[in-house]
């Protein structure tokens, strides 16, 4: 029996829209083992991003229990969540979410700086990841000077350099063309092989195929994919 990184039970999340209640997640049970590469597949508006934000400790939920690496997130305070986001989770977004005024290097080392590391140590620590992602030549560029695929690689580098226990990717290929999308997915496979735990969200079955396990989310409920 392998170690569970994510263990969610009965997670509910609703939004109040005017007088009506919109139940986005309806008692979701979801768990991920260490080293797994999981895809969450679902149509637009099914609650994928909502679930992802809860997994990533960026959003609150109404009820249910959530253990991340054994830490009870449902009981954690914002102060603890900041630390967890910084140390346990590497986020990769559809729109890269790089800070435009920073250089590539500055963007990549931000999570380490936030931990209190100094610039020199942080830069050294990222060296390996930077080389693996082929960004060594681009470190002093601004994100606006890079292509979409390169930007996403910068975002991945930022997520990796803090050596998180969980990589979360929300539609990582959504803004990329076929080739750069495939490149990112190949990278994910490689990271998976290196032992990283990855949860990836997509509405595209072809993308989901790259993962070793697929979970479907429909109308706020999660089903294990038979295949």
């Amino acid at each position: 029996m392998s170690e569970q990184i994510i263990s969610m039970q009965g997670i509910c999340k609703s939004y109040q829209m005017g007088g009506e209640t919109l139940n986005v997640l309806k008692s979701v049970d979801f768990s991920v083992n260490k080293g797994e590469f999981t895809a969450i597949l679902g149509p637009s508006g099914s609650g994928k991003s909502t679930l992802m934000n809860i997994i990533g400790c960026m959003d609150s939920f109404d009820s249910g229990t959530y253990l991340l690496n054994g830490i009870p997130i449902h009981e954690a305070k914002e102060r603890d969540l900041v630390k967890i986001r910084n140390e346990q989770i590497g986020f990769i977004f559809q729109n890269y979410h790089l800070i435009p005024t920073y250089t590539v290097m500055q963007n990549i080392i931000m999570p380490l700086l936030m931990r209190g590391e100094d610039r020199k140590t942080a830069e050294k620590e990222c060296q390996e990841v930077v080389e693996m992602l082929g960004l060594a030549e681009r470190l002093q560029h601004k994100p606006s000077e890079l292509s979409g695929g390169q930007r996403q690689r910068v975002a991945i580098a930022r997520a990796l350099c803090s050596k998180p226990s969980l990589l979360l990717a929300d539609e990582p290929t959504g803004a990329l063309d076929q080739n750069s999308g495939a490149e990112v997915l190949r990278l994910f496979t490689k990271l998976h092989e290196m032992g990283n735990t990855i949860v990836m969200i997509t509405h595209d079955l072809n993308v989901a195929k790259w993962a070793e396990r697929t979970v479907r989310i429909v109308d706020g409920e999660v089903f294990e994919d038979a295949g």
Partner: protein, 473 residues
């Protein structure tokens, strides 16, 4: 996050938006420049007062008599609000009127002529200062019109009485001024000058020093000699230079006077006869040849101990009352005049500081606005920082430090601006004394403003919920 790294981020953001930083800090620039200038003006004013009163003896008390005017019109000395020991025209507000500040030579109906040096000669600002004094004086100085109806001319006998009966006096003198037509030296047409009738000790009492010759002597007075001492400017105007003036003849009211001495340059003074422009003659000579009894002299007594001034004033009143039971004399002492001038100076400074504070508040609100906009613009960035583990403290600090830096930059630029602008202001004959204190104070104010007004937007930024911040476009 390390403080140095936060500072690095602040630097990144500021250098990337130089123009925005400049625009943001304009309010602070203006505020800081205002503070520096206000303080410089305040100090300048103080220095001015100190300088203008330097010919006054701290223990000096001037006594003069003001006859009430049946017309209800009073001669208030225009914008100066100060009394002239020689003319004794302490503003009299009994009539409720005051003369417009432009009235240079105003001949009062009461007889004795006043020094021509009126407000016209005082710099615009000084006039403004004294305007304060006048306002306050007008409020509290009104006397009944029933008093001082008879005509009284103070005499040397009165002076001798005071010297004899008032204890604690070190010196006494008496003087008056009159306007007279002068010619001689280089001037062809007669010109009007202030002629002061004084005793031999006047020069000492008024801290006058001589460039050539010597001051009028007791013998000159006793013999009613036609000798005179010229003020520096008067000597230059009439004879071309003080050297040429010495031992020459000046015609006052068509009678020749030998120039026994020329005074060193005194500069502008706020109180007392403007010595530079005046011609001094023996007291008795003036009465004999120029004015007759038609004068209103000022007796000046010097209290030996400055702390005794109030007692001395009471005693002076008592002694005078025994000679003139129903008269009210105008008594003013140098100390309170200086105090009044300094007071109005401080009032002005306070007003200017209030103005500067308002500018700062406006500047601060400007900073706050821009920072709010900046927080809005950078909501996404804040969301990203939060998603990758930025703490509230880091974000608060980053935005707050940004505000502080912007305001510091504004403060420094403001101080620079003030140093550039001060020569321009000085050309309006406003005296400025720039000081390090002023600059430091301006910087402190800038920093405080930036911190106070930067805090709320920074706090707002730090409070953003990560998902919501990230979702914003």
């Amino acid at each position: 996050m390390r403080f140095s790294e936060i500072l690095h981020l602040v630097r990144l953001n500021l250098t990337q938006n130089k123009f925005k930083v400049l625009l943001t800090s304009i309010g602070i620039i203006v505020g800081a420049a205002t503070i520096v200038i206000v303080i410089a003006i305040g100090r300048g004013g103080k220095a001015d007062v100190a300088e203008q009163f330097r010919n006054l003896n701290a223990g000096a008390i001037d006594i003069s008599y003001e006859q009430a005017q049946s017309s209800g019109f009073s001669f208030g000395g225009g914008g100066e609000g100060m009394s002239f020991p020689g003319g004794g025209n302490m503003p009299d507000f009994s009539g409720g009127n005051f003369t417009p500040p432009s009235g240079g030579d105003f001949i009062p109906p009461s007889g004795g002529e006043r020094p021509e040096r009126g407000s016209g000669e005082i710099s615009g600002r000084s006039g403004f200062f004294s305007g304060f004094g006048e306002m306050f004086g007008g409020m509290f100085g009104g006397d009944g019109e029933t008093k001082n109806t008879q005509k009284i001319t103070l005499t040397t006998d009165d002076m001798d009485d005071l010297a004899t009966y008032v204890p604690g006096l070190s010196e006494t003198t008496i003087s008056y001024t009159t306007k007279q037509d002068i010619y001689g030296g280089n001037i062809e047409e007669t010109e009007s000058y202030t002629v002061a009738g004084t005793l031999s000790d006047y020069a000492d009492l008024s801290n006058l020093s001589l460039l050539f010759g010597e001051y009028l002597t007791d013998a000159d007075n006793e013999n009613k000699s036609k000798v005179c001492v010229l003020g520096y400017s008067a000597a230059k105007a009439i004879f071309g230079s003080p050297e040429d003036a010495y031992d020459s003849l000046v015609y006052i009211d068509d009678r020749p006077y030998t120039v026994a001495g020329v005074l060193a340059e005194q500069g502008t003074v706020e109180a007392g006869i403007s010595a530079d422009e005046a011609i001094f003659i023996p007291y008795a000579t003036g009465i004999k040849y120029l004015t007759g009894s038609d004068i209103s002299p000022t007796i000046t007594v010097i209290a030996a101990d400055v702390n005794d001034i109030q007692t001395v004033i009471e005693n002076v009143k008592a002694v005078l009352a025994s000679s003139y039971p129903d008269a009210e004399f105008t008594i003013s002492d140098a100390g309170s005049k200086m105090e009044a001038a300094n007071k109005s100076n401080e009032t002005l400074t306070l007003m200017l500081i209030a103005m500067a504070s308002i500018v700062f508040v406006i500047g601060g609100i400007g900073i706050m606005n821009v920072l709010f906009v900046s927080v809005k613009e950078r909501t996404k960035e804040i969301g990203i920082l939060k998603a990758i583990g930025g703490s509230r403290k880091d974000i608060l600090l980053e935005f707050l430090l940004e505000a502080c830096c912007i305001s510091m930059i504004g403060g420094v630029l403001g101080v620079l601006v003030s140093f550039l602008v001060s020569p321009v202001i000085s050309t309006f004959s406003i005296r400025m004394e720039m000081s390090v204190t002023g600059a430091v104070l301006a910087l402190c104010f800038s920093l405080v403003t930036g911190t106070v007004f930067g805090f709320y937007p920074a706090w707002k930024a730090s409070k953003l919920v990560p998902v919501e911040a990230l979702a914003s476009e």
